[in-house]
Symmetry: C2
Subunit: 424 residues, 2 copies
């Protein structure tokens, strides 16, 4: 497939964060040329803002099934009376449809790569491959039976999962011990050994709530990050979701380990987890900071444009300083910071990079006039300004239409799945 | 004009906050029928979420001109190096184009009524009338010369403005003393007398920043609300923008006076004004609470869906309580709370009410599945899910297209105005 994008503002996100005016040519899975280009192509677009696809670093894809099912409740009540009873009924067909819908929402709002963590991860990985989206698929390890399998099967099945998906172009298997409160030291250690054996990434919840921090501290004598470190899970492959209740000392430990923090401002605010991910301190320590939406049940959408805006604004608000967490930093967190951490040859618009690209229509009242393109992307744009999405060189979403997905059919299947899950 | 909306989810926002399934029929400027309806109509829509139009209670419309012009700067630097130098160059033609663009953005994202405050308010009022949007037009009173006129002309011109626009169906003149730091006691008092003489609404900034509160306190011996009260401006016609730094005692005074608080969470966070509008306490005191975006220069958009989400989430976050400021409360603030305060016969979908109505497409990945419609509107929707907007019974935006506005022409004029303003 070849794609030519003409007369556009190109937000390169290269080393110098250049913004240039011109054309981008994509051939097969790569960016082949940037400049003034006249060639034939399968698709020709024009007058766009062209930017790297956004990377949603923490989500639970099938939770679209529970979007809006139990809001405005205290966290404990939300989990015990709403989320867990429904999750216990989940079957692989629900997971498949919930995941498809999540991919549709993400792609339609400019996300080209996600980092998931859930049950039935093989179903999710299959859906990602079919959909054509880049997905880091986190196989959850946890100390109780899941809707999919008995707890004793999790570790061997996780290993099978890693073997099966290793080498896939779009789907990368990830070891995902749920958290230090839901995983015993033994589980944490085995997860670390497994990840090391296959050089896999690790995805874990860390210090999301104050309650969690003190529970873990009381039970094990270490805070969550201490547990993660003690059992061999803190290294340059580790992705720590939330970190809303970490200390300044822990900031240093994360930075020293070259681990990655995933900030989920919308979910944290909506679930009222309190605290805040200490972004200014993490920036000062040169830690890797990325962004996620979390699952649709706690957000309730998967729009990374919204997440960038919340990420910038919540810290300005906390520190009474409008210069803290700039639009450029927010965009970096959602693009190049994540790809550099993942070792993914994407995240910027440069020749030779994988073509994971998002186009916005400039002709929208919220994007006029254009004083500053980065400001527009972070503060003024919505995911719905996205007109076209290219992943691995393939046009998946063109002129606001999915090219490879039967939209109506998925909506119908989703409503059916919802009805089924709500039955007694 | 007649409009029939078939087979839809109707978010009535009536006294019992009913959500019903059926049809809505609009004739002339009113909601004529709700139920199962079979009639001919000029427009027939179907399968929508139908809701009252949103009411943006605090904005500075022409500031779309400065969208993204100087973000991530400390407030003082932003004002002195960016906003004020450009504002000094404003001419009525800039105001007209900036206002038109603001109306386009607001209507396209579901706002049917706004409460503005700026210079050149007569130009703004004229544009509102031409556009067909409901606008409470605040004529600014301030103690320095404006780009439009000398300070000594402001009060008499404000009176002329009120006389001119009194009785207009869509545009209502409002007396808008800027703030207690930019208006002397004498100006405040004259504004109060003028508002009383014409029974006009009053729109004023109040306790936006801590700096402001202590400046006013040091200068006059009263905090901003004290000044407002002392000079006769605190009553059931008063709309207080921000209130981010008010005391619990002031909450009571506002509630007792039946004044209205306008919460602008996105602008407050982006400008890092600190503090927070004490919504839980204001609710407890039965104060009237409404929402605004503030101007596009400090937001940077005019999407009230986004503002509802920020309004709900910031208070959950502050209070570590996910049950604080519910989706229903956020929607009430953006609709019926405002119309009840304004004495406007709109804000709900009931027979006999003015037809200020917004339709959302249900078939969008972020609105599937639908467990809870109110949750969807506040947490999952974006302004861009809006498909149709009806104001005073007139279809202004249909199937995502403006029916009465030359979109491209306005974009071109806006870019031209921007270039002009940036010239040395």
């Amino acid at each position: 497939m070849s794609i030519l994008i003409k007369n556009s503002i190109i937000v390169t996100q290269d080393k110098s964060r250049q913004i240039i005016y011109g054309d981008v040519y994509i051939e097969d899975d790569r960016i082949a040329e940037i400049g003034k280009i006249n060639v034939e192509a399968d698709f020709v677009l024009k007058d766009k803002i062209v930017m790297p696809g956004l990377i949603n670093m923490h989500t639970h894809l099938p939770m679209t099934l529970l979007r809006g099912y139990g809001d405005d409740l205290p966290l404990e009540e939300w989990l015990t009376t709403r989320i867990w009873p429904i999750e216990a009924k989940l079957k692989s067909e629900h997971i498949a449809i919930g995941t498809k819908l999540a991919f549709m929402e993400m792609v339609a709002t400019g996300t080209t790569c996600c980092n998931d963590m859930y049950f039935f991860e093989d179903v999710i990985a299959n859906e990602a491959k079919k959909f054509g989206i880049r997905c880091y698929a986190g196989f959850s390890l946890i100390d109780f039976d899941t809707p999919e399998m008995k707890r004793e099967c999790l570790l061997p099945e996780c290993e099978n999962f890693i073997k099966k998906w290793s080498g896939d172009e779009l789907v990368k298997p990830v070891v995902a011990p749920h958290s230090t409160y839901a995983c015993s030291p033994e589980t944490l250690q085995k997860a670390a050994e497994l990840a090391e054996k296959y050089d896999a990434f690790i995805h874990i919840h860390c210090s999301e709530t104050r309650h969690e921090v003190y529970d873990v501290l009381n039970k094990y004598g270490s805070r969550p990050l201490g547990q993660i470190k003690k059992y061999g899970l803190l290294n340059e492959k580790t992705m720590l979701a939330h970190c809303g209740w970490i200390t300044k000392e822990e900031v240093k430990e994360i930075a020293d380990a070259n681990a990655c923090v995933i900030h989920n401002p919308v979910s944290n605010m909506k679930l009222a987890t309190g605290g805040y991910t200490p972004l200014p301190e993490l920036f000062d320590a040169n830690a890797c900071i990325t962004l996620g939406t979390d699952g649709a049940a706690s957000n309730n959408k998967l729009d990374m444009f919204e997440t960038m805006k919340f990420a910038a604004l919540i810290h300005k608000h906390h520190r009474w300083d409008a210069s803290i967490v700039t639009a450029q930093q927010a965009l970096d967190m959602a693009t190049i910071n994540a790809t550099e951490f993942l070792g993914l040859n994407a995240g910027s618009i440069e020749i030779g990079k994988k073509a994971d690209i998002v186009c916005l229509d400039m002709a929208s009242p919220n994007l006029i006039p254009r004083h500053n393109t980065i400001s527009h992307i972070v503060y003024a744009a919505s995911g719905f300004n996205v007109s076209d999405v290219i992943i691995n060189g393939k046009m998946l979403y063109h002129d606001r239409k999915f090219l490879t997905v039967d939209e109506e059919k998925i909506y119908e299947e989703m409503e059916k799945a919802k009805e089924e899950l709500l039955e007694d």
